[in-house]
């Protein structure tokens, strides 16, 4: 392993923080989902890095599970976005307060 595992982990951290910044900045639910995808990918980089570090396929199994969860999350998320916003004119998550207690 020429490149130390720390380099992969720092890159993973950078991607995660980028995704967090995206979640903080964006008001559009589509862009929120895109940023969340970025964060899930950062997690996958860590998992596969650890799988390489300890020479154990469990990390890769876990990464595949994360990919499936991401796909399911996007299906439901986009379904909700389409169901909610086809009748509204603007995409803004702050406008959605009908479930506020």
């Amino acid at each position: 392993m020429n490149v130390p595992i720390e380099a992969y982990l720092m890159l993973s951290l950078g991607l995660l923080v980028l995704g967090l910044i995206g979640v903080m900045r964006r008001r559009n639910p589509l862009m929120l989902l895109l940023s969340v995808e970025l964060m899930l990918n950062a997690g996958n980089v860590s998992l596969i890095g650890f799988s390489r570090l300890w020479d154990d396929p469990s990390g890769q199994v876990f990464a595949l599970v994360v990919m499936v969860v991401a796909a399911a999350e996007v299906v439901i998320g986009l379904g909700l976005v389409v169901a909610i916003f086809r009748s509204r004119s603007n995409l803004d998550v702050d406008e959605l307060s009908s479930m506020k207690g």
Binding site: M1, N2, V3, I5, E6, A7, Y8, M10, L11, L13, L15, V17, L18, L20, I21, G22, M24, N28, L30, L34, S35, E37, L38, N41, N44, V45, I48, S51, R52, W54, D55, D56, P57, S58, Q60, V61, F62, A63, L64, V65, M67, V68, V69, A70, A71, A72, V74, V75, I76, L78, G79, V81, V82, A83, F85, R86, S89, N90, D92, D94
Partner: protein, 173 residues
């Protein structure tokens, strides 16, 4: 040497396209930028000797998920973002402090950890091959396999129900 070059290219690509996802105003450009970031991450997986995960990454993420995003972006069309007021007003500072704190905590955790000897992994033992992953999945992680099967089923049913209610909302069946 080869791994260093691959890592450098993939790291620059991932962070650059990731910044594109976060900072592009246009939703379409952000989604296309996400494809670039996902391909760079697939390159990282190859550098980590995980070719199967890299293939799944390209097929599932760049192939399926981003295409769904592009469909929805094209379907909903251009919608203005109204930023007249912000509900989070006072709490936004706390949120940004949380982002900074989490980033700093992660950096400290990575730098302070001891990952054992310098080059722990021997020449690969084929741990990233489809065979090894399949064996691990069926022998040790069968519950995870069945759990993701259930998750897929729930997501499919949920998508159908959401689409049905949306169509009914417009007067269809």
């Amino acid at each position: 040497m080869g791994e260093k070059v691959t890592f450098a290219v993939a790291a620059i690509g991932a962070l650059g396209f990731g910044a594109g996802v976060v900072f592009f105003k246009d939703a379409f450009r952000a989604a296309v930028s996400l494809i670039g970031a996902l391909l760079a991450v697939a390159l990282l997986f190859i550098a980590l000797l995980a070719p199967f995960a890299a293939a799944v990454q390209v097929i599932v993420y760049a192939g399926a998920i981003v295409v769904m995003f592009l469909f929805v972006i094209a379907y909903l069309g251009e919608r203005g973002e109204i930023t007249s007021f912000d509900r989070l007003d006072r709490w936004q500072v706390v949120g940004w402090l949380g982002v900074l704190g989490l980033g700093g905590l992660g950096a400290v955790a990575v730098l302070a950890s001891d990952f054992g000897p310098d080059s722990p992994a021997p020449a690969t033992t084929g741990v990233g091959s489809p065979q090894a992953i399949g064996e691990a999945m069926l022998a040790n992680h069968i519950v995870a396999l069945q759990a993701i099967a259930v998750i897929m089923l729930i997501a499919t049913v949920g998508a159908v129900i959401l689409a049905k209610s949306a169509v009914q909302g417009e007067g269809g069946r």
